[in-house]
Amino acid sequence: MADVATVFPSAGLASARLRSTAESIAVPAGALIASAILFSLFLLGLGKNPVEFFELVWRGGFGSSFSFQNSLQRATPLILTGLAFAIPATIGLTMIGAEGALVLGAFAAAGIAIPLVTAGAPVALTLVIMVVFAIAAGAFWSAIAGWLRHARGVNETISSLLLTYIAIAIMSFFVEGLLRDPASSNKPSTLPIGKDYMIGAIPGTDVHWGFVAGLVLAVVLQVVMSRSTFGFAARVTGGNPRAARAQGLPVGRLVVACAAIAGACAGLAGFYEVAAIHGQANASLVAGYGFTGILVSFLARHNPLMIVPVAIAFGAIEASGGLIQRRMDMPDATALVLQGIIFVVLLTSETLYGRLKLFQPTTTGDRK
C-alpha cells in the first residue's frame, strides 16, 4: 500500500483532509450532545422533563413554517456579527467590537434617513444611502482598532471593546439630544423612518431581506477568504505575521482591511436592525448581538459558511423561548441558560482538536 502514497502522494493528503473534516464535524457534534446531557440534568434537578423541553425547542425553532421563519429572522444579525469576528480571526486578530460597529452603523443609517425621509426622497435611493452610511460607519469604526494594532501595537481586543462603549455613547449623545424625536418621550429615539421606507419581507415569508444578505455575504466571504489572493495573504499573515512580512506582504493594509470588512458586516447588521426591525435608532439596538456573534464564529470555527447554520441554530433556541415559557412554566431565561451551557461546552471541546487518535493522519506504516 505504501506504493499508492508514493505514486499518488495526494491520496494520503486526501485521507488526512477527510479525517480533519470528520474531526471538525465530530467534535462539535459530540459537544452538542454533551451540552444536551448537561442541560437535561439541570432540568431533571428542577423536576422538569427534558424530552418535553427539547421537543418544544424543535417545535418553537423549526416545527412550523412560522417558527422556522422566526428562527431565520433572529439568525440574521448573528450571521453578520459572526462574520465580523471570523474575518479578522483569519488574520490573527481577536476583535470583539462588532457590537459597537453595529450600533454605530444603525445610528448612521437612522441619522441619514431623517433629512431624506423628511424631504420625501425616493424609497430606493434612501435605502441605498442608508446602507452605504451604515457600512461606512461600521467599517471606519472597526478599522480604527485594526489601524491602532498595526501602527501603534495597541491590543485590538481591548481597543475594540473600548470603541464599542464609545460608539454606544455617541449614539446616546445624539439620540437623547440633537436627533431626538420629540414624540419619543419614554424611550428617546430618532425620528422613525416610517412604514413606507422600511424593508419588507422576502415574498411569501415573514423573513426580512437581511437574511438573504447575510447568506450571500457568507458565501462571498467564504470564496474570498479561501480562493482569492487577498484571502491567501490574510491566512498567511494569520499563520505567521513575521514570515508574511518577510515575504513582502502588505501586513498593515491587510490587517486594516480585515478589520474594516468586519465593521462593514456589523454595520450592515445595524442597517437591517433599523430598516427592517426597529425603524429608528434607540437603546434597543444594544442587544448583545455583537457578543453572541463572537461565540457563533467560534462554534463555526471561523468558517464563513458554517456560521450560517450555527446562527440559525441559535436563532431557533431564542425563537423557542416564548413557547417554553408558556408550555413548561419556565422563565424565558431558560433559553439563555441552554445557550450558555452550549457555549461553554463547545469552547471546552476546542481542546480535543488534534488529540483524538481516530482523526489523526496515519503514517503509511511500513517505513523500514
Binding site: 491590543n155 473600548l162 464609545i166 467560534f298 451551557i341 469552547l347
Partner: protein, 306 residues
C-alpha cells in the same frame, strides 16, 4: 453658572462617584488578580449579575444582607473556578471562554432570579459620615456603604500582598513568566485557577453591592455592563490594586456627571462624559503601547499585552 451651582454639581459628583464606584472597584480588583496571574477573564459581567441575584435572594431568604454578600462572593468563586479550570486545558481561548461564562452566568441569574424581582430584601445599611456638615447635600453624599470601605481595604491588602508575601510573589511570577514558575516548582495552572476563583469572589461581591445597596433591588437590567468594563479599568490602573481605587472613582464620577448636571437643570449633552473614561483608557493604551517602562507594569504572560 454660579458658585452654588458648581458646588451642587461637585457634591453630587462626589456622592455619585462614591456610590457608583464600589462595583467598579470590586470587578477591577478581581480582574487585576486574575490578570496578574497571566490570564484574562472577560466574564466578570456574569459574576456581577449572578452575584447581584444570589446576594439579593440570600438576603431575602435569610434576612441578613451580609450573608447575601458572602453568598454572592461564593457564586462568583463558582464561575471563576469554572473559567479557570476550562482555560487550563490546552488550545482553549480565554477571551471566548470569558464571553461564554458571561452568557452562562447571566442566564443562571435571570433563570433563578425571576421570583426575586418583586419581594423586598433587607439592604446593607449605609454609614452616615457627613453629620459634621450643615449641608444636607454633602451629608447625603457622605452617606457611604460599608462595602466601599471593604473595597478600599481589599485594594490595600492586595497591593501589600503582591509586594510582601510569598503568595503574592508566586502569583506575580506565574503572570510574568510561566517557565520560571515551573522552574520554581509552581504549577501555573493551579495558581491561575485559584486567582481566577478569588477574582471571581470579588466580582460577585461587587454584584451584591448593586442589588443590596445601590440601586438596591434585583432586576434583569441591573448591571449596565460594569463587569465587561473591568478589563478597561485594569488597563487604566496598570495592574496596580491601589490605582484600581482611583480608576473606579474616576469611572464612577464620569457616570455621575449626567445626574449631577441634571440636578442644576442641564439635561442634555452629558452622554459625552459617559464615554470619557473609555476615550481616556484608549489614550492610555496608545501612549503605553511599545513603551518599555509600561511593559514592566504589565504581566508578561498576558495574551492582551503581547
Amino acid at each position: 453658572m454660579t458658585a452654588d451651582q458648581l458646588a451642587t454639581i461637585l457634591i453630587a459628583m462626589l456622592g455619585g462617584a462614591i456610590r457608583v464606584s464600589t462595583p467598579f472597584m470590586f470587578v477591577a480588583l478581581g480582574e487585576t488578580l486574575t490578570e496578574k496571574s497571566g490570564r484574562i477573564n472577560l466574564g466578570l459581567e456574569g459574576n456581577l449579575v449572578l452575584g447581584a441575584m444570589v446576594g439579593y435572594a440570600v438576603s431575602f431568604e435569610a434576612g441578613s444582607p451580609w450573608l447575601g454578600v458572602l453568598a454572592a462572593g461564593v457564586s462568583g468563586v463558582f464561575l471563576g473556578l469554572m473559567h479557570g479550570a476550562i482555560c487550563s486545558l490546552p488550545r482553549v481561548n480565554d477571551i471566548a471562554v470569558g464571553l461564554a461564562m458571561m452568557s452562562f452566568g447571566t442566564g443562571l441569574a435571570f433563570f433563578f432570579g425571576k421570583p426575586y424581582i418583586q419581594p423586598s430584601a433587607p439592604r446593607l445599611e449605609s454609614v452616615p459620615l457627613g453629620g459634621w456638615s450643615d449641608s444636607p447635600a454633602l451629608a447625603q453624599a457622605l452617606t457611604i456603604n460599608p462595602l466601599f470601605f471593604v473595597g478600599i481595604l481589599s485594594a490595600f491588602l492586595m497591593w501589600w500582598a503582591f509586594a510582601n508575601t510569598r503568595i503574592g510573589l508566586i502569583v506575580r511570577m506565574t503572570g510574568d513568566s510561566e517557565p520560571s514558575a515551573r522552574a520554581m516548582g509552581v504549577n501555573p495552572n493551579l495558581v491561575r485557577v485559584l486567582s481566577t476563583g478569588l477574582g471571581g469572589f470579588l466580582a460577585g461581591v461587587g454584584g451584591a453591592f448593586l442589588s443590596l445597596s445601590y440601586p438596591g433591588s434585583w432586576n434583569e437590567g441591573l448591571s449596565s455592563g460594569q463587569g465587561l468594563m473591568a478589563v478597561a479599568l485594569v488597563i487604566f490602573a496598570r495592574w496596580n490594586p491601589l490605582r484600581c481605587i482611583v480608576a473606579a472613582l474616576l469611572f464612577g464620577a464620569a457616570g455621575a456627571i449626567g445626574p449631577s448636571l441634571q440636578s442644576v437643570g442641564i439635561s442634555q449633552g452629558y452622554y459625552f462624559f459617559n464615554a470619557a473614561p473609555y476615550i481616556l483608557t484608549l489614550f492610555v493604551m496608545i501612549a503605553s503601547a511599545r513603551s518599555s517602562a509600561s511593559a514592566r507594569e504589565a504581566p508578561g504572560e498576558l495574551s492582551i499585552v503581547k
